[in-house]
């Protein structure tokens, strides 16, 4: 039995230790905001925060999250940085199909939590683990800059 705190709520998970967090949360708990894209830490679609650290949940076993705090896209709007990132994403019209965007928002939030005013190079470095097949990269950059400015104003 694994007990994890997901977006502030405690859940008991009766699953094998090695089940990736992604599947435990999507299939067993039924929160499907986090997406599956590759299963091998290549695409970032499954990005969650584990104790505030961005992780690839497709490759993180449930056992690594036992007794810990997990934030998913469903909860990121409660974070002031996450909320500003979401707002910027809508303003700039980043999303095309949107499938990668939950992961992008989770990574971008983690970036701004660490580097409040990233330059293009820092954005490219931090965000290069998140693939967008629709090719929204330029708007992602614009939106991150916008969120950073708004957060600075706050």
């Amino acid at each position: 039995m694994h007990s994890i705190t997901l977006n502030g709520q405690v859940y008991e998970l009766d699953v094998p230790d090695d089940m990736p967090l992604l599947w435990a949360i999507r299939d067993v708990l039924g929160f499907t905001g986090t997406k599956f894209g590759c299963g091998i830490s290549q695409c970032g679609a499954c990005t969650m925060h584990l104790e505030g650290m961005p992780i690839r949940s497709c490759s993180t076993p449930v056992s690594a999250a036992t007794g810990k705090n997990v934030t998913t896209i469903e909860g990121i709007g409660d974070d002031p940085v996450g909320r500003q990132v979401q707002k910027a994403w809508v303003d700039v019209g980043v999303a095309q199909c949107g499938y990668c965007q939950c992961g992008q928002v989770m990574s971008a939030t983690a970036l701004l939590q660490r580097i409040p005013k990233p330059d293009d190079e820092a954005i490219e470095g931090f965000m290069s683990g998140n693939i967008c097949r629709c090719g929204t990269y330029n708007r992602i950059k614009t939106a991150i800059h916008q969120a950073a400015s708004k957060l600075e104003e706050e």
Binding site: M19, W23, C97, V105, D120, M127, G129, N138
Partner: protein, 764 residues
Amino acid sequence: MKPSYRNFNLTNQTLDRRDFIKGVGATGALILAANWTWAQEEERKYGGEGMPGGTVEDPKVFVRINEDGTVAITCARSEMGQGIRTSLALVVADELEADWDLCRVEQAFGDQDLYGNQDTDGSRSMRHWFMPMRRCGAAARAILEQAAADQWKVAVSEVRASRHKVVHQKSGREIGYGELAESAAKTPVPSDEAIKLKSPEDFRYIGQEQTLNIDGMDMISGRATYGADLRFDDMHFAVVARPPVFGSVVESFDSSEALKVNGVVKVIEIEGKKAPSEFHPLGGIAVVATNTWAAIKGREALKIQWSASENDGYDSTTYRQAMEKAAQNPGKLIRNVGDVDQALAQAESKFSATYYMPHIAHAPMEPPAAIALFKDGFLEIWAPSQAPQVTRQRVAERVGLPLEKTRVNVTLLGGGFGRKSKPDFVIEAAELAQQFPGRAIQVQWTREDDIHHDYLHTVSAERLEAGFDAEGNATSWLHRSVAPTILGIFAPDQVHQAGFELGMGFNNAPFDIPNMRMENPGIPVHVRVGWFRSVSNIPRAFAVQSFISELADEAGEDHKEFYLKLLGKNRQIDPREMTDDWNHGENPKLYPVDTGRLRKVVDTATREAGWGKKLPKGRGMGLAAHYSFVTYVAAVLEVEVLDGGTLIIHNANMAVDCGPQINPDRIRSQMEGSCVMGIGLATTGEISFAGGKAQQSNFHDYQVPRIPLAPKKIAIHLVDPGKGVELGGVGEPGVPPVAPALCNAIFAATGKRIRELPIRDQLG
């Protein structure tokens, strides 16, 4: 058990008009496949009317006024990132004089008789549905005006709908749409003459600069519903082991170890179909479990004996040699103007080159996935489908249910790019669901499944030869195109390309050259080849636009001037004169190939890019232009190649003439995405085969662009199409010019000519 489901945020149409449905319609894709020989001119229909099911503009099908004042607009095209749920709804809302904030979008299920054609492909949604949706919105507005006039007992000519209410100016009375909902529902649809379209200067949403996305917030908060996102009580999850080589089948299998995996419920064989396998599943062994992880683990524990296949020998190296050899020799004659042989024999100078482009995989971020529930003899499906009506028809046929016992709901698509026009993955879910009555079954493809079992973009060798007279004028053009055809999934022994493949930048090359010949030498098909965003336009643009750059370089002329000279005087060419009877399905009289519009996008893109300006050492600019999906696009890329071969793309300027621009922001976003996708297929896109098996499996070896490879700046320039021009496509025409513009820029920067994609380590 009463299944309840959660997470379904995409409101589906609930209107059920099955009672009124005419006979069971036939099928999108087969008709499409049969279309390479067109019907006689007099019976030929074009545009939306030429599609199976045609168009529908009945406001009672697409619009519902709710008593709370909201307006529900139905979208019958699939959302896959192009923004169509927003853009079509904006068109209806504008004509309806509705306030966007009070509009909701409902997603149609697959039903061609009710909604008309639903094939979300071919860059056709706005092109074919702009006018029907305008008329639909205008008719709904007329209904509301009539309802208000009836209520006030005044002439309808005295009332006017404006901004979500109807106003009677004389008396100063006004009434909101919500209050009219009930009476409007009983008001008949007005006659055609009573429907008045708004005048374009009164548009509030159509053609306006606005950044809107009806699903925008849902998409970034985890609320949006994609193919794998519904959750039912006690649902099961399945993955399928499919044949490693196309055409191979299960000879025997042992499921005993798989069944021991914690969570695995059942192992079931799915039948494949011998080629041509159309949209049928590949067949294989499904592992059904209580969660996806258990299903994946179970599949790893399967022992399967696969049969030999006639495609075991498919090998990309030898196949390429065969294609290039075929391109050296005459093939099926497609277009012939003047006498190319004689002109080449007399030419002062000649030049030839062959360009190769491998298979590529769509790899939408969302791998194929679908959910099916078979309950009380009724099969309901939720799937990210580009063609829900075709899916419904194929599913019904395959599981042996009448059409009216099936329903295909459309979720959001996490990218489609043509992959999700083919319902093989949905049929898998349907078949499994039949074995678990009352229980929802989700089929999940892993990324490896997706890469190994895609309906791949074709592989191609394009050979070009041109001859020039003493003054440097082009006198001859010989183009041979060799590529396995999409027809291979529909019919046996197909070696030549279909009209819809030829008409993608091959026979319809609009150059002013007196002697031209196009040939299509045959080559057999060994895999499932399908439509990939922009289809055959990609290798054609790569070959033709690279070749022209090479010719300009040979002649010592500026590439842009040289290209415009080849285009010749501004003229409108009937595509049929170039043997292109297909013309992207559009009426050749309304949609001639217009070299003036092509010239204009070239002028715009080069001007905006600062074509000809001096660049720092190691940098170069490259141009390419292409006409496809009845839209004109030119791209200029500015690149830098560092020592060691690292590529930096500094600027991309793309000029687009897609006719009237309905939702400019989404046109730009499609072009930005096309630019990145074009860069990806040019730099790293390749699926290769050895021993009949795809050699790549996931994003580590099938690489797609990441953020550092995107151009540092992308500027999209929307060109004024001028008056009287019809709508063009948007989703696809941006892709083709990108790869050649990139390769031409690399040549300008380094002197290195790329004739083979992907570029990968050719710069190192």
